[in-house]
Symmetry: C2
Subunit: 242 residues, 2 copies
């Protein structure tokens, strides 16, 4: 038997319950674009990011704590909110020292589920903070679950590719008896040289959705490693730099 900690990949929020969450670090993955934007805002000096699951909760909390409210519906800033989901909306000169209240349905639901199931630690992962995630989970020597948020529970390509990137970099430090992880790593190896092109070639649903909104720049950024290389950790309702 191996003494290495285990690593599993959950392809969807609807599958997280299958894994031993209470004994693991859970990495929340919502590549396009929630966790990429979270890493970017924190990297650029945001005090914290508070993820919420609805526009109304975002508006309410934004008033209560004088935070910046952000979220989109159908590619536009949601009514009543101030900003969108693009990482480019949060440069240092704007976000430094501020609190960002961000609505994100898929990622927030997964995060709350990990919390309810008693995860040892909850962090968020995206290509912009790939190395920070990898360095941390190697150092911790704990069991890890790579939790893909997916889209309304349907498995998506981009979250899978990020899980694959993590496994590709640090898989050797873990015992991986998990077909989803091997699938993710194989897909990443296949696409790693040009992830944007891989999304396009494979007709990934979010590639089309975001391209239709004119967001090619966002997609390209969200597939670029280590542009915002900090580690967001969820503590007492907030994501802060660990």
């Amino acid at each position: 038997m191996s003494n290495k900690p285990t690593l599993h990949t959950s392809f969807s929020t609807a599958l997280l319950h299958l894994y031993d969450v209470s004994n693991s670090i859970v990495v929340i993955i919502d590549v396009l674009r929630a966790t990429s934007t979270i890493a970017t805002a924190l990297y650029n000096g945001a005090k914290c990011v508070i993820p919420v699951d609805s526009v109304s909760r975002c508006i309410e909390l934004g008033k209560q704590i004088e935070g910046i409210t952000a979220g989109e519906r159908d590619g536009k800033i949601a009514e009543g909110l101030e900003h969108g989901n693009s990482p480019f909306e949060y440069p240092r000169e704007f976000i430094e020292g501020k609190t960002l209240v961000l609505t994100t349905t898929n990622g927030t639901r997964l995060l709350h589920m990990a919390l309810e199931k008693g995860a040892k630690e909850i962090i968020t992962g995206s290509f912009p903070n790939l190395s920070a995630v990898c360095d941390h989970i190697i150092e911790m020597k704990q069991n890890v679950i790579l939790g893909c948020a997916a889209w309304k529970d349907r498995v998506n390509m981009e979250d899978t590719l990020f899980a694959g990137a993590v496994i590709s970099k640090i898989g050797e430090y873990f015992a991986i008896n998990c077909d989803s992880s091997h699938m993710a790593a194989t897909l990443y190896e296949k696409g790693r040289r040009d992830l944007f092109g891989f999304m396009k070639k494979n007709n990934a649903s979010h590639y089309h959705r975001l391209m239709n909104f004119g967001l090619e720049k966002d997609i390209r950024y969200c597939f670029t490693a280590d542009k915002a290389n900090i580690l967001p950790e969820y503590k007492e309702g907030k994501l802060v730099v660990k």
Copy 2:
């Protein structure tokens, strides 16, 4: 807009509810080994195969209809049953004209779920009957869901590879807005030249489980296309050749 019917892949029984089952043909996929054995028994002249979800139900029904009872637990014939899950146990000289009552937890649960959700038609798929499945769904011109049984709801490599094989052969006849389908097709394309080797290289969990039981021959057969090329359809509680 495309006039083609849609095709989706559900990676796990736990994800089937996300898809429009009542408007679709559902292909039940449980490659190692339930649906491969079902195809083989029917190809070799079994009158029908009745899938049941427990050993006790298998024993009971076997007595009631004088059927051959089959099922395994931990790689051995389950107590009280007569035969195992290997396709090699069902040659023509043994199974012709007989009814096989087969316990299979993952595949049967998926099949019952598709039934409850009102699938238009339920068929079973495996490499031994790959072409029969493909020919049929092209001909039907209906929406299709490739339903991977998975293993206790965890996504597995072999069912995904079969979904990918179907998409690789007949994807052009369908509108596919489904990342799972594209992931499956990409994995299949990567592994198609040597699926057995691909399972081994990727440390697929069922590869190890069955190899440990000395069942390499079963795995190799279950990844060979068109050795039992009939189409099992679920009608009135039984799988029969369509």
